[in-house]
């Protein structure tokens, strides 16, 4: 249904003393998402996963590669016809709702963007229906966003995305900013909506444990590159890349016994290392790095059917 080929997005950064430099936020990412599938995208902040999600929706223009949606290349075309088919749910629910609009107006905006000919009562009914589909009562339409809790705001964000009856939704860290109890509720809601409406998700998160609840397939991103790709089970149970293993290890232990069994050593901060010019991007942190890793960038290779990993050691 959706395919990206070598998608690239570079940013120019002006540095205080070093002049301009190029940040390769998304550097040649190729992935494909099947209809009614949830594709999970994991990686730490700054790895380009959000940029990738936005580039797919052309909310930011990609600098290279192509996006193929439903068999059509949408990399350079006018997006208006596709806006109603592809939607996005944002990370920070309080920031993604206009503070001066009522909930009803926020959702109605989406409905009106899809079909502008609705009469006022029809519009109101549609909005009520959407609110109910995210398990809010219709009287929430008259509230302002700041009167709602984080979980309720996120529900409104979902209702707005559903207003245009999309097929494909980019969920950009939809639960990271929420309390644990809300996280579970929102995940459950997203799953239910997917089943009922036949949605396809690109689910972005930094937390593998959250992604796993949602995803059929998982892609692991590190500094702009996809380093591992496979079914949820494969990635979680048999992680091939050292970075995936580090991500798995970072998840807090669910109980004290597991916690004691885990023997983590305290590592130095490494997110600020920047992207190396050549070689594997993870080589400086990888304990198994061989000289080859520093010189040549590994490509995605199949380790088992449908499970790909970019590592020289495999």
């Amino acid at each position: 249904m959706l395919k990206t080929e070598k998608l690239k997005k570079y940013y120019e950064i002006r540095n205080k003393n070093r002049g301009k430099s190029i940040l390769r936020a998304v550097d040649g990412v190729s992935l494909d998402i099947a209809r009614r599938e949830t594709f999970g995208l994991v990686g730490e902040s700054g790895c380009g996963k959000t940029t990738l999600g936005r580039a797919i929706l052309r909310l930011t223009e990609p600098d290279g590669g192509s996006i193929i949606y439903d068999g059509r290349d949408i990399t350079h075309i006018n997006m208006f016809p596709y806006r109603s088919r592809m939607q996005i749910i944002f990370q920070n629910p309080s920031d993604c709702l206009d503070p001066r609009c009522r909930v009803g107006d926020i959702i109605a905006e989406g409905v009106a963007a899809k079909s502008s000919k609705l009469s006022k009562p029809e519009l109101r009914d549609t909005v009520s229906g959407l609110l109910e589909s995210v398990r809010l009562t219709p009287d929430y339409a008259y509230r302002y966003p700041h009167e709602l809790s984080g979980g309720q705001q996120q529900r409104v964000g979902i209702a707005r995305a559903l207003a245009v009856e999309p097929e494909f939704i980019v969920c950009d860290e939809p639960v990271s900013a929420l309390d644990v109890s809300y996280q579970a509720q929102i995940i459950e809601l997203l799953k239910e909506l997917q089943e009922r409406l036949g949605l396809t998700y690109l689910f972005i998160s930094h937390d593998l444990s959250v992604v796993r609840y949602m995803s059929d397939r998982i892609g692991v991103m590190y500094l702009g590159k996809l380093v591992e790709l496979g079914s949820g089970e494969d990635v979680v149970r048999e992680p091939a890349h050292q970075y995936t293993k580090a991500l798995l290890d970072a998840i807090p232990a669910p109980d004290p016994i597991t916690a004691r069994a885990k023997n983590r050593t305290h590592t130095e901060e490494y997110t600020e290392l920047g992207i190396p010019d050549r070689g594997c991007r993870y080589c400086r942190l990888c304990e198994y790095a061989v000289p080859e890793c520093r010189d040549e960038e590994p490509e995605l290779r199949e380790v088992s059917p449908g499970h790909l990993c970019a590592c020289h050691l495999l």
Binding site: V180, L208, L247, D249, A250
Partner: protein, 325 residues
């Protein structure tokens, strides 16, 4: 070890309310907790449950709309709720330090990290020279895992990533070697990988220095890794407290049980829907009658709707407030 005599901070029957436009918000309703020397106490609950307020009140960090209605907070036998402004200034930082959720907003953007650290040292120790304060700061930065501290000290807060600023905050908090470190959700805004590093760092620093720690969080996973004891707070009441193992393996209160089920488990079978607690957290404006958790409790009885349950002691250090016990 004689446990009862070694109490560092003891908060008793703390009751805090806020004046808001909707009326009086009862944020904390008579909570009691204590921290022993060298121990890590986890304060767990959902946001809005009063866990932050219950701790900020102790440090006199609440705004003008808050009122402490009752209670005492004894730190080494001294009631710190009744300290004068001047006593408080030397108390904070030296005896007790705090780290917060968003470190970048607690660092002054117009001064270098080094200057902020040196000033902190000198504020509490007037006699120390600038050079030795600087050396102390550098050592501290090194011990929180920041490489090249000399260069880093000359940088401004915006040049640090989220995880790095949190490390700097921890370094500043530990400069005066406090007896108690209060951590208010220090990793909530961070990535899972960075979170794991910060927790590991805190754990190591705590073990090395033997300071006590009060860790506020909504994530039970962190508790499992870090805490010796846990207090579970809900709607401004402490519903259960006990040793970490007791809480995890013999949780008595339905709220604790529900929170425990929320821990994401990577080893659970695929596609199992995550459990969740029914309904939203309690609104402090309209506290329900009876047990604080009854509107969301799966095993709610008639008595729960009428009367608040008393605290029942289960084992040593383990107690819970529930009619089921």
């Amino acid at each position: 070890m004689d446990i009862s005599s070694d109490i560092l901070l003891e908060v008793r029957d703390l009751d805090v309310s806020f004046q808001s436009r909707q009326g009086e918000v009862r944020a904390v309703n008579g909570i009691s907790y204590f921290v022993r020397r060298g121990e890590v106490l986890g304060l767990v609950g959902e946001s809005g449950g009063g866990k932050s307020v219950g701790v900020h009140a102790v440090m006199s960090l609440l705004g003008t709309s808050a009122r402490i209605n009752a209670g005492s907070a004894l730190f080494e036998g001294r009631d710190i709720l009744r300290l004068t402004r001047r006593e408080l200034a030397s108390f904070r930082g030296r005896e007790v330090s705090m780290i917060f959720q968003n470190p970048s907003s607690y660092l002054d953007p117009v001064f270098t990290i080094g200057r902020q650290m040196v000033e902190t040292v000198r504020a509490h120790d007037k006699g120390i020279s600038k050079e030795s304060a600087r050396a102390l700061s550098e050592d501290m930065l090194r011990s929180v895992g920041i490489r090249d501290p000399e260069r880093r000290m000359r940088q401004y807060p915006f040049e640090f990533s989220g995880g790095m600023s949190q490390r700097v905050m921890i370094a500043i908090a530990l400069l005066c070697k406090p007896k108690l470190l209060i951590a208010d959700e220090p990793t909530t805004a961070l990535d899972v990988t960075t979170q794991a590093q910060i927790i590991q760092l805190l754990k190591e620093l705590q073990e090395q220095s033997g300071m006590a720690m009060l860790y506020i969080t909504h994530n039970f996973g962190i508790v499992a890794e870090l805490c010796d004891r846990v207090s579970v707070i809900c709607g401004g009441y402490i519903v259960e407290q006990g040793l970490t193992d007791d809480i995890f393996y013999h949780a008595a209160h339905p709220y604790t049980q529900a929170l425990l089920k929320l821990i994401p488990r990577i080893d659970s079978p695929k596609n199992e829907t995550p459990p969740s607690i029914e309904g939203p957290p309690v609104e402090s404006v309209t506290l329900p009658k009876g047990c604080i958790f009854h509107p969301r409790c799966p095993c709610c009885m008639d008595v729960c709707r009428q009367n608040a349950p008393p605290q029942t002691a289960l084992e040593q250090d383990h107690s819970a407030s529930c009619w089921l016990l």
